[in-house]
């Protein structure tokens, strides 16, 4: 063992001892403090009755349910807002990114103003703005709801649309949709393999057929019964209402994040070498094929890692919903449940671990997709290929 190795071991052991010391010290203090204040320890509280109500739940929940259930409710609400937010922000981001690249000055400058205005304002302000200004100040009160036929009602309490009640054959219909999706994916894979083998056979009519199948089946099978929103004196007795909290969080975060996505989209498209476009032109690709087959696939590759980061930001930012009382994980569990039980450490570690896991899973999925895309391109030149 030489001198450096010895020193390295010393440093690392010192580091570990230091951390252990800190942990023991804090742990000791913690135990002292909770025993003095009569707060229990451990996750036993999860089976106790929660006893508070939650304004929006995706699965059934009553005040008699346990704290464990409040965790699930909060998590599902976080996932719901993230899911809608990601879809909206992607669509909006692509649109604005392409608008920024438009030759039409009016369009590109409007897009630039959109990006520069929205992204220099804190996301929390976006959320509060949508909630307090748009919902509470601009939208009409309940009795004077904005109406579109019998279908859509907009007022301070949210946006109400018809709800769909599953009928007897709803399960069969879901199965049909599932089968169609699998068939379409399978056909795409088959097509990919055919192209690799040099076979060109049309498969898209079959895919179209499977796509249309559920659409055609819907009126015949009638799997869902549509119930129009019905107004009683003080509330809607039927229909589906998107509450202002969810709406504010989703719209605020999607518009805010879309400014970042649009910049990523723009710079990735611009990073595709001009030669690629010229080569595609000289091979006689029509303009939309050029975009679809040559430019976008190459741009996607540079786009995915930064876009993943933006998705993760959006997911973490759904916690801002707390400011407008959207019952997400942070607000329900780290807020109300923590206050009710007093188990600060247990609750906070659960919340943090959950966000960490969500981040990790999102990264994994995007990395996997990233790899799938890069594989399509074939091998990169390696050093051995260069004859020098």
């Amino acid at each position: 063992m030489n001198k450096t190795q010895g020193r390295n071991i010393l440093i690392q052991t010192g580091m570990i001892l230091l951390l252990l010391g800190l942990f023991t010290y804090f742990g000791y203090n913690y135990l002292e403090n909770i025993s003095k204040r009569n707060i229990g320890i451990g996750f036993g509280f999860m089976d106790d009755t929660a006893g508070f109500s939650i304004s929006q739940t995706l699965i059934s929940y009553t005040e008699a349910d346990t704290f464990a259930r409040t965790f699930v409710i909060g998590l599902l609400n976080t996932l719901l807002a993230s899911f809608i937010g990601i879809i909206l922000t992607t669509a909006l981001g692509f649109l604005v990114g392409l608008m920024r690249m438009s030759k039409n000055k009016l369009i590109s400058i409007t897009a630039l103003v959109y990006v520069e205005t929205l992204r220099n304002i804190p996301p929390l302000l976006h959320v509060l703005f949508w909630y307090q200004v748009v919902f509470l100040n601009v939208l009409p009160p309940f009795k004077e709801s904005f109406k579109m036929g019998e279908w859509l009602y907009i007022n301070v309490r949210g946006i109400t649309i018809p709800s769909f009640i599953p009928q007897q054959n709803a399960h069969t219909y879901s199965l049909l949709i599932f089968v169609s999706i699998i068939a379409i994916i399978y056909l795409s894979l088959v097509k990919k393999r055919m192209v690799l083998r040099g076979v060109h056979k049309r498969l898209w009519p079959w895919q179209l057929l499977f796509l249309l199948l559920p659409v055609i089946a819907a009126p015949i099978m009638n799997p869902y019964d549509m119930v129009l929103p019905e107004i009683t004196k003080f509330k809607f007795s039927s229909g589906m209402t998107m509450r202002p909290e969810l709406f504010s969080v989703v719209v605020a975060l999607s518009t805010y994040t879309s400014t970042y996505i649009s910049e990523i989209v723009r710079s990735s498209i611009m990073s595709v070498p001009l030669g690629q476009l010229e080569a595609a032109k000289s091979l006689g690709f029509p303009s939309w094929k050029r975009l679809q087959l040559i430019i976008i696939p190459q741009a996607l590759r540079t786009m995915i890692p930064p876009v993943t980061n933006q998705y993760l930001n959006l997911i973490k930012n759904t916690s801002l919903g707390m400011a407008v009382a959207y019952p997400d994980l942070t607000s329900v569990f780290a807020g109300t449940t923590l206050n009710q039980t007093g188990r600060a450490l247990e609750v906070m570690s659960m919340v943090m671990m959950t966000y960490l896991i969500i981040s990790l899973v999102t990264s994994l999925i995007m990395n996997w997709y990233n790899k799938a895309i890069i594989d399509k391109k074939g091998d990169l030149l390696s050093k051995e290929d260069i004859p020098l």
């Binding site: 690392q12 913690y30 039409n104 009016l106 304002i121 302000l125």
Partner: protein, 359 residues
Amino acid sequence: MNLNMSLKKNMTFLRKEFFNTPLNTIMTLFMAWLVVKTGIWFINWAFINAVWTGETRDVAREGGATWAFIITKFRFFMFGFYPKEQLWRIPVTILVLSLTMIPYFMKQIQHKILVMGAQMILWPLIISIFLSGGFGLEKISSNDWGGLTLTFILSILGLLYSFPIGIIMALGRRSELKVIKGLSVAYIEFFRGIPLITILFMSSVVVPFFLPEGVSVDKMVRVVIGMTLFQSAYLAEVIRGGLQSIPKGQYEAADALGFKFGLQSYLIILPQVLKMTVSNIGGISISYIKDTTLVLIIGMFDLLGIVSPLASDTNWLGMEPEGLIFAGILYWIICFSISRLTYKVEKKVNELPTTGAIK
């Protein structure tokens, strides 16, 4: 004749740029309609129908902004609930803080890093002495700090302290020592994986449990620590990106000159890294300043947080829109100027030589 020609030229230009295809024509018309419509509405709301003077909400007019609210409450937006007679202490603090920046612009000072070290000790002292008082000055609890002042304090302290921690973590992540590397990775990934709100909760709810009995740390201090830990993880990743782009030859050359790790980082590697990452550092500083707004969730009244208590004044009920828009404009100005500044610094830094102490 001349006029006719230029008119014709303009017409062709317009036709080519805005109306060359049916789709483009539709988009142009739609955009123009949208821009004009929102523009007119905004000018009406913000200027023509706006009210600038008044003492209560009764002056408010339909379809116009009530800027009178902002004007009467201006002091609170700037300084929070700091007592009126003591307000002079805030500009004095800011002036003294700015004075500590002078050494950065002095050519005689070789090692600017020492200046930064001095600031890390001086800034909290200056802030606590002048703003909290106690040394002959009237004592003012940090609960009364608020508005733009609080945003400013949180931002500068967080940005200052996150620098050394971020650099250490970035270097740690590339260390050959397994334990150091593991700990740095765990630190960075942990703080990047969780929302800032949970860290703020942790610092306001859980941290007191870890302190021995009788010891209490001011909420303000706990929040600054939490936010620094959060920001330094992001900074570490930016610096790591810079470290990765340094050619191996630079390390080898430094080794060949006999530089040990410390000197090698200080004289050769970090100056290049900082130069390369200026724009990213500017970017995450902007996000950090935007993130300081989250302290409103744990009950602190920063520039954004103060809107709601001010609009609950019985004289000014329901003035949230004006308050939020005013705060938004201030945030916009701050963030936009930093992004412009970053751009300028980046340009200037690129003219400097690549190596040598950070001067």
